[in-house]
Symmetry: C2
Subunit: 140 residues, 2 copies
């Protein structure tokens, strides 16, 4: 288990249980954000359905996971703490989701927006949708 995981569990006064470690591993295996359904299904052989949902809630409150979005679908992935701060580009053709890090200039633009509305921003998310390089070459 990553030291960071153990630390967060401890800091939040949570039990370091087998089910939670298992669910964390499942989340950690994903190369892209995936649906809650998929996570729950993957967890099903190892724990009860309700346990999986409960752990997802606990992980959310502890900031271990983030909800992200790919078009219509709500997806989940490990939080910035584990994955680093990033955003997603999703291909509407092949469904692939690519992560990208924001540039300094982009952050600056977002800061200006917050400033304009006298808004203390604590987080933000950004998603680009379109056709990826691979799919635009293979016109079907």
């Amino acid at each position: 288990m990553p030291p960071l995981y153990t630390k967060i569990i401890k800091d939040n006064h949570l039990s370091n249980t087998k089910s939670r470690r298992t669910l964390f591993k499942i989340l950690n295996q994903q190369s892209q954000p995936v649906s809650i359904r998929r996570i729950v299904n993957n967890a099903l052989p190892f724990m009860n359905k309700s346990t999986a949902y409960r752990i997802l809630n606990v992980f959310d409150e502890a900031g271990i996971i983030n909800l992200t979005y790919a078009g219509w679908k709500q997806t989940v992935e490990l939080s910035d703490t584990f994955k680093g701060h990033h955003h997603h580009i999703s291909c509407i053709d092949c469904g692939q989701i690519i992560a990208f890090e924001e540039t300094h200039d982009l952050v600056e633009q977002l800061r200006l927006v917050s400033l304009k509305y006298q808004f203390k921003a604590t987080s933000h998310s950004l998603e680009l949708r379109g056709i990826c390089a691979h799919c635009s070459q293979n016109i079907t």
Copy 2:
């Protein structure tokens, strides 16, 4: 009914039914993105539950609505065609959602990201979360 609505219905070879007009009006009354549940509940006195869901799907395919997101919650609103292109700032304290238009500079930064990944972007969404001006003044 807005001429634009009638045109989209016609262009997509859809029937201009009472239920669809009613659901459009309900969507049009909302000052913020709202949950699907709320839309369905508002529609319930006027049509069947399954009709409401079916219309939401049809409206999505026809580009009449957009799904948006406010934190954990999936929400729906009329598309850019009706509301104009914009993004959302949501207050994690009072729950208010403020719409803002993107600046030229912000668009330019997004264009650079797409360019970097050789990605043909067709749409994008952006959400800022934090504390709104009003809530940061009224510290509870």
